[in-house]
């Protein structure tokens, strides 16, 4: 009996010893494990395989949509196109409309979040360039495709940043060092950077091949030739925003996808779906939604519209009850984007036609004004309006061009910029005494420029 006990004890001890032995290897040692949740940057830089490059390129397209809601609100509110009523967020109707003595805050979300989103995506484009340049998996044409694609996106993101900060300029990102901080650029230098990126990309795309698929919003522009047209369309916008070299606008347009006979909607779009890890349209909302959380058109959009302009019914919806907040009100809900998966234009044919009209009006040589009027009529007719019948002076046509831009490109992020570059911010409606119209957003506080 005693012997059996001893055996039992011994086997128990051996079992216990085995347990300790098995777990023994990590009694002292600790393994340095990788991020269990996401792809580490070093992985894509060390192994720039074609699938890795493709996910980076798609991510760059996807990343263009980050914090678009704030971009829309900033442009829409300051350009007096719409109101975003959100009772939980007083700064929309306070700071953005320059209520009383309020200022645009360099630390608040409306300044910081869009800026961060643009630069994160510029970083994406730079990572893509860095990875592709190191990749043995791509040939010279394929590398050119990636360079042309990435530089175009970079230029577009810089442009969006500059559109907000305007006179305060932008910052150049150091392309291959994630720890370095780049130089501050003045507004003209910022435009110069954007133009040079677009031009380099255009050249890269001359002899290039795309190894990645682009989403449906790029259909027609998802190979190197198509992408070149998109690149020139952006270049036309960038040239026009500088208000000086109108010939450059016209030249860029010639190589873009402008089509005076085609649909005004043709263009490049942001896609939205309800699929996993995708985004839905950030500004879609029920036009009737309650006033604690509603998106409404500025009343002047309806009041100022020409009789019979089909775009009014298309883009706004009469509300059953007025929406009001903070001393502001509107009876019209926004209906520009009518579903959670509605696409949002990056740039489209209507803008290109209007840009050509604008460049002609400003160049004002020969038959330019007549040609511009014809172009304006294309846009007017599409909205069921008769041909333009007003004065055909340069000034009058400029007014009409801006008016067509206002209605055609409503709530696509143009109004504030247009009024600003024509120095007409004073003409925007002021809804409450003490409100004012901002010219530039501050540089985010975290940039430590002051």
């Amino acid at each position: 009996m005693k012997r059996l006990n001893t055996i039992n004890k011994a086997s128990f001890a051996i079992f216990f010893a085995a347990l300790v032995w098995i777990s023994g290897c990590n009694i002292i040692d600790i393994e340095d494990r990788a991020d269990p949740n996401n792809t580490e940057l070093q992985v894509v830089l060390d192994n720039p395989s074609r699938p890795n490059l493709s996910t980076l390129a798609v991510g760059t397209v996807s990343g263009m949509r980050v914090d678009m809601r704030i971009w829309f609100i900033n442009h829409g509110m300051i350009g007096r196109e719409m109101y975003r009523f959100l009772s939980a967020e007083p700064r929309n109707t306070g700071d953005l409309l320059g209520k009383e003595n309020s200022q645009l805050d360099p630390g608040s979300f409306y300044t910081t979040r869009p800026w961060s989103a643009y630069y994160a995506n510029i970083r994406m484009a730079n990572i893509l360039i860095q990875a592709a340049s190191n990749s043995p998996a791509v040939n010279a044409e394929e590398l050119n495709g990636i360079l042309g694609f990435a530089k175009t996106i970079k230029a577009y993101q810089y442009l969006l940043a500059l559109n907000l900060t305007n006179n305060n300029g932008i910052r150049r990102q150091v392309t291959d060092d994630i720890n370095a901080v780049g130089d501050m650029l003045s507004k003209p230098d910022g435009f110069a950077l954007i133009e040079s990126l677009l031009d380099e990309a255009y050249t890269d795309l001359d002899n290039a091949e795309f190894i990645f698929n682009l989403p449906p919003g790029f259909s027609g522009f998802d190979d190197s030739e198509g992408f070149q047209q998109f690149n020139r369309a952006l270049q036309a916008r960038v040239a026009a925003y500088q208000m000086s070299d109108w010939q450059a606008v016209l030249d860029a347009l010639d190589n873009s996808f402008i089509d005076e006979d085609g649909s005004l909607a043709t263009g490049v779009y942001h896609d939205f779906t309800t699929q996993p890890n995708d985004e839905t349209n950030p500004v879609f909302a029920d036009p009737q939604a309650g006033s604690g959380d509603s998106w409404v058109a500025h009343p002047s959009f309806v009041a100022d519209a020409e009789n019979g302009d089909a775009r009014v019914d298309e883009k706004v919806e009469l509300r059953e009850s007025e929406a009001a907040l903070d001393g502001l009100s509107s009876n019209y809900g926004l209906a520009v984007y009518d579903s959670p998966t509605a696409s949002i234009p990056i740039i489209r044919n209507a803008e290109l036609i209007l840009l050509r009209a604008e460049a002609l009006i400003n160049r004002n040589q020969g038959s330019d004004l007549d040609d511009a009027e014809d172009l304006l009529n294309i846009v007017r007719n599409a909205a069921d309006l008769p041909d333009y019948s007003g004065s055909t002076t340069q000034a009058a046509l400029t007014n009409e061009m801006l008016n067509q831009r206002r209605y055609e490109l409503f709530f696509e992020g143009h109004r504030w910029i247009d009024m600003r570059r024509y120095d007409r911010l004073d003409n925007l409606p002021i809804d409450r005494s003490g409100d004012n119209v901002w010219i530039s957003f501050p540089i985010p506080e975290a940039e430590n420029v002051n």
């Binding site: 991510g59 990343g63 939980a88 630390g107 604690g292 959380d293």
Partner: protein, 1031 residues
């Protein structure tokens, strides 16, 4: 595996095997019995439940209802230790000739005989302790008026602790800060150790952000009002709590002890019995304070809500139908009930403590509440005189329904919806049960409350084993080996159901939202310790210990969000759109420690220790970081020269120690997360830039103090001052976002906390018929950021930007300062105007200069608590705990939301004082109504958001009657005791703060950014009736 590592594991192996082999060699020895009665020294009353323990073996018994005991002992002699909570411990040598031993115990007001943890394997008598360690007994913890969860039972009982509920939601969510801010971005909550288990206290968000959009589109956020999981522990199971408040006491716990350590010991069985205790409480809860609703007129309804408002107001007026929505939403008198049954039984070798409890509490909002079922079995077994094994195990199931409160960006939470709800609209369901749409908000809070569901279910099992083996035991020379292993596993399931008929769901593109978060968390820890005690001839005792510890954590969280629900289905697959997010977290820590304790005749007690720790949270996972400690206690009253009899004890003490704090998970990684578009797979760079060379932040604490107690037993005083310095702080710095990244962690900078803690215990009356015990605690903390190599930065989750008030870290300032926009003033106190280039100009030429300045501080000026226990005729006791927090500011943004919607209760009052220069800056003359003033200041000054959150609160009050045992004599002494009583928690609060409760935190358990309020779950008070029966 390196050779040296293997030889260490071999050593462990040998020790483990030795433990088990020796443990089974059982020897039969001679036996004898000692019996007697234990009574109270001054009153001669028998003491029930006194523990009599055999010092050599650890076995023991307790006295019965007559104060009698009987203990069987082995061998020829032994030492008996008589201990009773609140009384001085006495020790008697006994042998086979002793027979009867009657003992009297004396009230121990300074608790000098209490045993306190001094190392991982050793304890020390409080008399010899060189640190200020707060101890809380079961009676102190829940004896007055019990709160729902553990942390809320600690209010006002721990000097140096700042305890704050994050909201009034049922089921917990309470943060504890010990001796000030211990980290700016690292972990700040204390380490909880329950019976040797490293008990997880994470707060896991429920995913409601997918609907509230509080974090502006992120998938999980800390604005979800989470529960921190210490709430799972049943307070009734706790025997005692010790709180190590800083590095000088906690250094031996190394790199996870910077927030302090809370050591919880649960109740254990004693031989004899079975003894049963049944405790039943029932009660109700109501809202602590209502804010009130604004009274409208036709004109004000029109100006606040437009023509719709006017129409609805007139309709309400004609029907005389004005609804108190606070009453509708928060007016429930929730029923509270808790039943606990526990038993203790055993013989001299084996004892059990088994308890079960059922708790079912409703909240003040209908459909909210908290349920908990808990069962605990603690077992102690003595395999041989030299081997004891203690096993503790606990299973808890809890279910919380916490409503939907706090910040949102979608108008969906109860609180935000309430701010848009004037009393003249009718949101109640019609006779068909259909809810009208809210005319001024996206959600009808009554509909959301009644139809949605936010459940949090937790199943948790925790077990520990502690084996104590006396390797040799010779006179004045002991060597023991202790092995401790703990396992803590929980599975938390959050399920939120937003049916498609809800107002905001119906109008969304994808009506109906289901959110399911499944979290599994496993903590395991082991330690192996050798302790050697050696007593020399000249009364010097040397205690040496060396040991090894390990800690592993693995957490896996899967969040699934489904939109566009199929009908009324609630499984996440029953929907059109699905999104998933998986987050894994892990941690591996390994450490060693050495400690040496020299005790010279209980007069000089010197301790020194070293702890070496490494972790995979550090950049260099192989590197050991060293945390030393040293302390000295000097008992003057034990000196030969001391001959005054007035003082029972006078001790001077000084202690030094260091602890670490690890970086948060993921700070090392620069990664790209999934970001798909239209069915194409993409990755997008994360906003956090990883840092490879992170190391633990290091806290150095020096504390010194005096403890004194009067020989008459009248009173005792404990006075402590400390300085806690934190270096190599783990900071999260805002990066220039133009780099493509917004944040990175880094080690830099330093700060300190300095503080003073005073505890005064008084026993002015102690007679058989009247006893009054009073304790007064006072504590105060200052902090300062002494070195910050980066520009001042805002605490994420510490506000919503400077225009609304913001916690900001800035060199030379307090770590808890709150800054905000405010007009710039010149030296004369006049407003400054500047032109576009920043030059000072006249008012006409420029615009008002708004600058950011310090407007408040979250840290209290001081806190005090006043606890009293009055006992009359030995049967009737009245006790209460009054807690005063003086100063400390909150950011009240609830008021702002009410103002913006025109519904603030004081909207039309004119009593709000605003400084003249701010009135001038806002173009006010001072006669405007309160809300008009506040709204006009929006963007000009954040000062009015930053409000004094002082309070005086009756935390606990209870009145109890102990039915004399003689009343049950007819039951053959089967009943040992019956206690009945009534009690209340948070009976009243006096505060200048203009919202529900000065204790609030929209962002949950933040190291710093607490007290930010956005429409929280209002706080409640509780009333209870109690019945406790011991049999």
């Amino acid at each position: 595996m390196k050779k040296s590592d293997r030889s260490f594991s071999n050593l462990l192996l040998v020790l483990a095997v030795a433990t088990f082999l020796l443990g089974f060699s059982y020897a039969t020895v001679a036996q004898f019995t000692v019996s007697g009665t234990v009574t109270e020294e001054q009153t001669d009353q028998p003491l029930i439940g006194v523990t009599i323990q055999v010092q050599e073996t650890g076995s023991g018994v307790v006295t019965n209802s007559q104060g009698e005991y009987e203990i069987e002992l082995q061998g020829s002699s032994a030492t008996l230790v008589f201990s009773y909570i609140g009384y001085q411990t006495k020790t008697f040598p006994v042998d086979s000739n002793t027979g009867t031993l009657d003992v009297t115990l004396r009230q121990d007001i300074a608790e000098l005989g209490e045993v306190v943890v001094s190392g991982l394997g050793t304890t020390v008598k409080r008399e010899n302790l060189a640190n200020s360690v707060s101890s809380i007994s079961a009676e102190e913890l829940i004896g007055k008026s019990p709160a729902q969860t553990l942390s809320s039972n600690l209010y006002g009982k721990v000097t140096g602790a700042e305890i704050s509920a994050n909201s009034g939601a049922p089921g917990g969510g309470i943060s504890i800060r010990l001796r000030g801010v211990t980290s700016i971005n690292g972990a700040s909550q204390p380490l909880y150790i329950v019976d040797g288990i490293y008990y997880n206290n994470d707060d896991i968000p429920n995913g409601s952000n997918a609907v509230t959009a509080a974090a502006g589109g992120g998938s999980a956020s800390n604005q979800d009002n989470p529960v921190n999981r210490i709430a799972d522990l049943n307070p009734e199971d706790i025997e005692s709590i010790e709180i190590l408040k800083g590095a000088s006491a906690a250094a031996i716990y190394g790199q996870r002890a910077s927030g302090g350590v809370v050591i919880i010991t649960t109740k254990r069985g004693t031989s004899g019995g079975p003894l049963f205790s049944l405790s039943q409480r029932v009660g109700f809860t109501t809202i602590q304070k209502k804010l009130g609703m604004r009274d409208f007129t036709v004109a004000t309804a029109d100006s606040a809500f437009g023509s719709t408002g006017r129409t609805l107001f007139e309709e309400a007026q004609s029907q005389n139908r004005f609804i108190d929505y606070e009453e509708e939403m928060y007016g429930q008198e929730g029923l509270l009930s808790k039943t606990t049954l526990s038993t203790s039984f055993g013989n001299e070798n084996t004892s059990f403590f088994v308890s079960g409890s059922l708790q079912d509490d409703e909240g003040i909002i209908p459909t909210t509440g908290y349920e908990r079922q808990s069962i605990r079995a603690n077992m102690d077994h003595r395999f041989s005189p030299s081997l004891n094994v203690a096993v503790s195990s606990n299973y808890v199931h809890s279910q919380a329904f916490r409503g939907l409160t706090n910040n949102d960006n979608s108008g969906t939470t109860f609180g935000v919806a309430m701010t848009a709800t004037p009393n003249f609209i009718d949101l109640r369901p019609n006779e068909d049960g259909l809810y009208p749409d809210h005319p001024f908000n996206t959600s009808n809070p009554l509909q959301t409350r009644d139809l949605f569901s936010n459940g949090e279910g937790v199943d948790r099992v925790s077990t520990s084993v502690k084996a104590n083996f006396n390797i040799w035991q010779k006179p004045n020379n002991f060597l023991t080996f202790t092995f401790n292993g703990g396992v803590d596993f929980f599975s938390q399931n959050n399920k939120l159901i937003f049916p498609s008929e809800l107002q905001f769901e119906r109008i969304s593109g994808s009506p109906g939202t289901l959110i399911e978060t499944a979290t599994d968390n496993l903590n395991t820890n082991t330690s192996a310790i050798l302790v050697h005690t050696f007593t020399t001839g000249n009364n010097l005792t040397i205690t040496s210990q060396a040991g090894y510890t390990s800690f592993n954590n693995d957490q896996n969280r899967i969040l699934t969000i489904a939109n566009n629900i199929l009908g009324t289905q609630t499984n996440v697959d029953q929907a059109v759109e699905l999104n998933a997010d998986q987050t894994k977290v892990f941690q591996r820590d390994r450490g060693f420690f050495l400690q040496e304790e020299l005790n010279f005749d209980d007069t000089y007690i010197f301790t020194a220790g070293l702890r070496f720790d490494k972790s995979d949270r550090n950049g260099d996972v192989g590197k050991f970081y060293l945390y030393p400690k040293a302390s000295l206690a000097w008992n003057l009253t034990n000196e030969d020269f001391w001959n005054s009899g007035t003082l029972e004890n006078l001790k001077l003490r000084v202690a030094f120690g260091q602890t670490g704090n690890l970086s948060t998970f993921g700070a090392k990684f620069t990664s790209l997360g999934p970001s798909n578009i239209a069915g194409l797979g993409g990755v997008l760079i994360d906003e956090t830039r990883g840092v490879e060379n992170l190391k633990p932040e290091r806290q150095t604490e020096i504390e010194a103090g005096i403890d004194a107690s009067l020989a008459s037993g009248f009173g005792s005083l404990e006075l402590t001052v400390y300085q806690k310095s934190i270096e190599d702080m783990l900071l999260q710095r805002e990066l220039e976002p133009s780099t493509g990244f917004d944040f990175e962690s880094f080690n830099s900078g330093s700060m300190w906390n300095r503080g003073v803690e005073v505890g005064l215990n008084l026993l002015p009356f102690n007679t058989a018929n009247f006893r009054w015990n009073s304790s007064i605690n006072f504590w105060k903390n200052w902090s300062k950021v002494t070195d910050l190599p980066v520009p001042p930065f805002d605490i994420e989750g510490g506000g919503f930007g400077t225009s609304l008030g913001q916690y900001r870290i800035e060199e030379g300032e307090s770590a808890t300062q709150i800054v905000g926009s405010d007009p710039e003033l010149d030296t004369n106190g006049d407003l400054v105007y500047r032109d576009d280039d920043g030059n000072v100009v006249s008012e006409e030429e420029g615009s008002l200069s708004i600058i950011t300045k310090k407007l408040g501080d979250g840290e209290a000026d001081f806190q005090m608590s006043f606890s009293n226990d009055v006992r009359i005729f030995n049967n009737l006791s009245l006790n209460f705990l009054l807690h005063w927090k003086k100063g400390g500011d909150n950011l009240n943004l609830t008021e702002l939301l009410f103002d913006l919607n025109g519904t603030t209760n004081d909207y039309d009052d004119t009593d709000l004082d605003i400084a003249d220069f701010r009135l001038e800056a806002a173009g006010l003359d001072g006669t405007e109504t309160n809300a008009i003033k506040r709204l006009a200041l929006l963007g000009i000054s954040a000062d009015h958001f930053i409000q004094d959150a002082s309070y005086l609160r009756m935390r606990e009050i209870g009145l109890y009657y102990d039915v004399p045992v003689s009343a049950f004599a007819s039951l053959n002494n089967a009943i040992r005791g019956v206690r009945v009583g009534v009690s209340a928690t948070n009976l009243f609060t006096i505060t200048p703060y203009r919202s529900y409760d000065p204790e609030v935190s929209n962002f949950g358990n933040q190291p710093i950014g607490r007290g930010v309020e956005v429409t929280p779950f209002p706080s409640s008070k509780q009333f209870y009736a109690h019945l406790n029966i011991d049999f």
